[in-house]
């Protein structure tokens, strides 16, 4: 992973796709990296869009936190890079969703 390449986005850019799976906003969710232990908002993850999917990487150690692929009416979600994801339920009330 070359840190000088700026071809990544962040968790904000992934939130629309992930709204198909999560009922709550993921950008404000706190996630713990299974590799380095850093706890960061999902918005801060580095996101790489890859064809029909995306990978979100820890902004501290660059290990994959979440992989998502959507193909032929199936969604593959790999969360083994996250030890924990804490979602904020107050967002549900605020947006009326």
């Amino acid at each position: 992973m070359n840190p000088n390449i700026d071809d990544y986005l962040d968790g904000n850019a992934a939130a629309g796709e992930l709204s198909n799976i999560f009922a709550m906003d993921v950008t404000a969710a706190e996630g713990q990296c299974a590799h380095c232990g850093a706890i960061k908002r999902f918005a801060e993850a580095h996101v790489y869009m890859q064809g029909p999917g995306l990978v979100a990487r820890c902004s501290v150690c660059q290990h994959a936190l979440l992989r998502f692929v959507s193909a032929r009416q199936r969604v593959f979600l790999d969360l083994r890079g996250l030890t924990c994801l804490i979602l904020d339920t107050s967002q549900l009330v605020e947006s009326g969703r």
Partner: protein, 244 residues
């Protein structure tokens, strides 16, 4: 989240390459300043492309959503949105999206906004939202832009800062500056951050938005000048948009 359909009700050029699209979205649930939408374009053969665009307008009761799009010459979606689309056309959108890169009118702490190019869009929603809510939260905007003609919302920003001493505005030009401008065209640096942004001891919440490389360097400068990384919220538009 489902796709909604919006109808274009107005188009306005912001610069030679950027345009504001006003949409009326009948089932719009309302939004918070800083959120974005995903726009989906579908060709007649079924091929579709999805791109994210920040909401420029303040939350409003009229179910109106404004987007400002910068045209990338070889882009797939932005040339369509800035050149082809016409009033009364329909656009598919998903949103509002995001609950982290947002400013809520109940926030009273000092706010530091740092925009690079089209990264001004969600920050403008925050500035408009603050004005509409009658908030007195002290705001500072540092707006880095290629040249004077590339500034979005110039008159509105000027009017809002002229009439309000707690709304402060600084432009940083990277390629061409106006005549007699005190600072030669250059990227934002430590001195500019030190001279124009809130002292870190006031513990401002910072919102940084623009091309990825801009966001990385601006947030690093804010951290080096003493701001707690926890107080810096960022949104990256990718390698696209203007190179800073």
């Amino acid at each position: 989240m489902m796709w909604r359909v919006g109808t274009v009700v107005a188009l306005q050029d912001e610069t030679a390459t950027a345009r504001t699209i006003t949409l009326k979205v009948p089932d719009w649930p309302g939004h918070i300043a800083g959120q974005h939408v995903d726009v989906r374009l579908t060709a007649s053969d079924g091929y579709s492309a999805v791109r994210s665009y920040s909401i420029a307008s303040a939350p409003n009761a009229e179910k109106r959503v404004e987007l400002t799009v910068e045209r990338l010459p070889n882009g797939e979606v932005s040339p369509y949105l800035t050149q082809e689309i016409a009033v009364s056309d329909c656009l598919e959108l998903r949103g509002p999206i995001g609950g982290w890169f947002v400013w809520r009118a109940k926030q009273t702490e000092p706010i530091q906004l740092v925009a690079g190019g089209s990264g001004i869009v969600p920050l403008m929603a925050m500035i408009r939202s603050r004005a509409l809510a009658g908030s007195t939260a002290p705001f500072r905007l540092l707006y880095s832009v290629r040249e004077p003609q590339a500034v979005f919302y110039r008159e509105e920003l000027q009017a809002l800062s002229d009439h309000d001493r707690s709304m402060n505005l600084t432009y940083a030009y990277t390629r061409v500056a106006p005549k007699d401008w005190p600072r030669p065209p250059s990227r934002i640096d430590a001195a500019l951050i030190a001279n124009t942004t809130w002292p870190s001891k006031l513990v401002p919440t910072c919102y940084v938005c623009g091309p990825t490389s801009f966001v990385e360097s601006a947030s690093r400068l804010l951290t080096s000048s003493g701001n707690d990384p926890e107080k810096i919220r960022t949104e990256r538009f990718g390698p696209t948009g203007e190179r800073q």
